[in-house]
């Protein structure tokens, strides 16, 4: 059972990351990058430079471990699953910051601080949305949240939830309108001084995180492994793939505003919206 779940997580991460890179059209690019020289900057923080992509990847794996692949079968069946995922989100901010801090170069540094400024308040809508999903389930565990969607998926019961979580997902995977770490005006920001395999690993970790975030979204809003005819894991994989395509394609087609303006939008528009979402979900759950 456990070995099977470990395998499921590993396989989902690996194939999902492959799919994410392919959706981005970057398979060949990564293959070419991997063979190139890995450049070192002046006096970098070597430990954190090497470990930042590793932690990003590990957080993706941990996030996916709390997701139930079949009804009642999660690798880490924690009674506080959404808090575990929340900690993963907070640690992602730390990891991306370290990735930008460690090369000791101006553009990565600007990217790192920009991401900290946007990534921290993005946690708030995320927490509101997940807490709202926990209300009808009367539990913080993802298994129970899946169970509570037997009659009606949360995407319909709590209509504001998925759109809000999409913004969170884009921020956590450094994509499109929320990619404040690796933006073009700072020459790809935290990655500006990375080359060769280090750049490839960072991209793979981002792809793996996309899988993980999509899995969480599929579990919380689309009923996870619930579905007719097909077995649970297949439903989960289909939903993950669909959400990944949504994030990749949507991310490419929405413009990114300046960080200061996005900060205001987060606090002044998205946070009140999350309040409203929680209030509506609360009244409906009673």
């Amino acid at each position: 059972m456990i070995a099977g779940l470990v395998l499921a997580v590993l396989a989902t991460l690996a194939f999902g990351a492959l799919l994410a890179v392919a959706l981005d059209g970057r398979l060949a690019i990564l293959a070419a990058q991997g063979a190139r020289q890995r450049v070192e900057t002046e006096a970098p923080d070597r430990l954190n430079r090497d470990l930042a992509p590793a932690w990003y990847l590990a957080l993706a794996a941990i996030g996916l471990s709390v997701v139930p692949f079949a009804e009642g079968a999660a690798l880490i069946d924690s009674p506080v699953g959404i808090v575990v995922w929340g900690s993963c989100e907070a640690l992602i901010v730390v990891t991306v910051f370290l990735h930008g801090w460690s090369p000791n170069a101006p553009f990565p540094l600007i990217g790192a601080y920009r991401y900290a400024a946007i990534g921290l308040p993005v946690l708030l809508p995320s927490m509101f949305v997940l807490i709202a999903a926990a209300l009808p389930a009367e539990s913080l565990s993802f298994v129970a949240i899946v169970d509570s969607q037997r009659e009606l998926w949360n995407v319909i019961r709590q209509p504001l939830g998925l759109p809000l979580f999409c913004i969170v997902a884009l921020a956590l995977t450094l994509r499109g309108p929320m990619d404040y770490a690796d933006a073009a005006d700072i020459a790809t920001g935290t990655s500006a001084e990375e080359s060769g395999p280090a750049r490839v690993l960072w991209d793979i970790a981002r792809a793996a995180m996309l899988v993980s975030v999509s899995a969480i979204a599929a579990t919380v809003f689309l009923g996870g492994p619930l579905g007719p005819v097909l077995p649970g894991p297949v439903w989960l994989w289909l939903k993950i793939a669909g959400l990944m395509a949504l994030f990749v394609l949507g991310g490419r087609r929405i413009a990114r505003t300046t960080p200061s303006r996005m900060l205001s939008i987060l606090w002044v528009i998205l946070l009140p919206l999350s309040f409203l979402h929680l209030a509506i979900s609360g009244v409906l759950a009673l």
Partner: protein, 200 residues
């Protein structure tokens, strides 16, 4: 088994805590401290307090991120490019540290701690929720007011910008009628210690 994991996590927490004072970089120091707290949170999880344990990890990840930002902002040589010593007043600090550790150790060992392990399937999070909404309701709401005071205090102390102008220029509200004298009290020139009240 629980004992082994708790000891390992405790050793890790102590080691990363010690690293906080041995590294040169403020960023490394902050995140060493974070790792230390992560291990403490892990101990919480092992000791049947899953919510408190994971919440500790969550909070500390966020807080050490903010701490790293402020440490780098205000400390000299924030990245430790020149090696430096992170501790001051070695003798006093060693003595204080030993004293605190001994005191706490004695307190813990001499306290008759209850020994009734929580059953694995106990709904501890729900119990915490009922406690918060029931007997500890006042504490919970007081925390809300305290945090509100924290927010307002943080804004007042750290923000230069204000509704009615920069803080260091004496923010003044606009007049009640167009072109009239500013509404509200006029800031005293000698600082905020006088309480004359009244209008000009």
């Amino acid at each position: 088994m629980t004992d082994l994991i708790v000891s390992l996590l405790a050793a890790f927490a102590a080691w990363t805590g010690w690293r906080v004072f041995r590294v040169d970089s403020m960023v490394r120091a902050s995140f060493s401290l974070m790792l230390s707290f992560v291990a403490v949170g892990g101990i919480g999880v092992v000791l049947s307090a899953p919510y408190i344990g994971i919440a500790t990890i969550f909070m500390m990840a966020v807080e050490m991120m903010v701490m790293a930002i402020f440490m780098v902002m205000f400390m000299m040589n924030p990245a430790g490019l020149n090696p430096m010593v992170m501790v001051h007043q070695h003798r006093i600090s060693i003595a204080a540290g030993l004293l605190a550790a001994t005191g706490l150790g004695v307190a813990i060992l001499s306290t008759p701690l209850p020994s009734n392990p929580v059953p694995a399937e106990a709904p501890v999070v729900a119990q915490l929720g009922h406690e918060l909404l029931g007997p500890s309701m006042l504490i919970f709401e007081t925390a809300g007011v305290t945090l509100l005071a924290t927010m307002i205090g943080a804004v007042i102390l750290s923000s230069r910008r204000g509704r009615f102008g920069a803080a260091d220029e004496g923010a003044r509200p606009p007049g009640l009628d167009p072109g009239g004298p500013p509404a509200g009290r006029r800031p005293e020139s000698g600082g905020g210690h006088h309480h004359h009240g009244g209008h000009s």
